[in-house]
Symmetry: C2
Subunit: 207 residues, 2 copies
């Protein structure tokens, strides 16, 4: 998931680790940031797998001849995504299974890279997320209805607030889904005007 997010960020522009960490925090909801103990090993792994490449830090030729003994120097290491990395990212981005929406932060990362995601995939991820959250809501409502009396004030408040949150998330997702469908319909209509007989949809699903 971290590796997915890194690939996604490097898709937009090359960056070094320290910079990535800040961008990552924004992508992951601004709440918590990733630690360096996770980040740098992840970069190493991605590089070993050939999905990203470190650009030569500072070309030696450009430094003054008497530059302070480059041996052992540790400057900024700027990473860029490779062709294979782009392929891998495209694969990850088109995952529509439970791994894309069951986990909250995984879903967040997918959403953050929706601009790189096909319209039909976007829709299925949003719908999957909505199903997941609806199930949570139903379980919570059930549990509240059954155990309302036995719970103390605090647990009750916790569950009420949790229910309120999932409820709002469902409504939010519904809005996103609806506007997504509108967009698709509009795009479809525009295509229909250009090419008179669009019998086969452009992104037919085989599953």
């Amino acid at each position: 998931m971290l590796e997915f997010a890194i690939l996604g960020l490097l898709q937009q522009s090359p960056m070094h680790g320290y910079e990535l960490r800040k961008e990552l925090a924004a992508v992951l909801g601004g709440l918590r940031s990733i630690s360096y103990g996770s980040l740098y090993p992840a970069l190493k792994r991605l590089q070993a797998a050939g999905l990203i490449a470190s650009e030569d830090p500072v070309p030696r030729a450009l430094l003054p001849a008497d530059a302070p003994a480059l041996t052992g120097r540790r400057g900024k290491v700027v990473y860029a995504i490779t062709a294979e990395g782009k392929e891998r990212f495209a694969d990850l981005v088109s995952q529509t299974g439970p791994e894309a929406y069951d986990d909250e932060s995984r879903f967040g990362v997918h959403l953050a890279f929706f601009r790189h995601t096909a319209a039909d995939v976007r829709l299925r991820i949003l719908e999957g997320r909505r199903r997941t959250v609806e199930r949570q809501r139903d379980r919570l409502m059930d549990s509240l209805r059954r155990t309302q009396e036995k719970l103390d004030r605090y647990t009750l408040e916790l569950q009420r607030h949790g229910l309120d949150s999932v409820d709002r998330e469902v409504r939010w997702l519904t809005e996103l889904i609806d506007s997504e469908r509108d967009d698709n319909a509009r795009a479809e209509a525009a295509r229909a005007e250009q090419t008179p007989t669009p019998t086969a949809p452009p992104n037919a699903v085989t599953t």
Copy 2:
């Protein structure tokens, strides 16, 4: 944190693992449950530490004499909290440091056991949580204000929804804190009526 939750549940009544898992799901917000791969090793650890004890499953004497060869039998194992376990739980319950509120699910567990928590500790945990969430809110507002233009619709929506959520959580916490303060004041007043000169507060803090 899992161990904390187990101790808290066993505080209320002895239970076996399978049962604990269900109760745990309720305590942890009803969203996701703990897996057995976590639960049973945790029970083993707690037992090894002497914090819980397994009650003799089914007293052999009570079984019919021809019971099917108890060797290797694996029946329900009911665990109960020990005196040391209660002590440890009391320690954990009175933790008011960042570990009690920085992590969302840790805070949830603390809240779930507020009925076993002293009034002043409750208040400090709630206030700590509010500070944490307020910081998240401020960071999100900042990031939204600064990068509003550069973000695509989806990231923007994600951040807007996130901001809305933390905002509501702050308000919820404020309500809890206010009613907690009211309760404390009322209790104080009641005490004052019984004992005429209550100059020293009952739970003076030394830190």
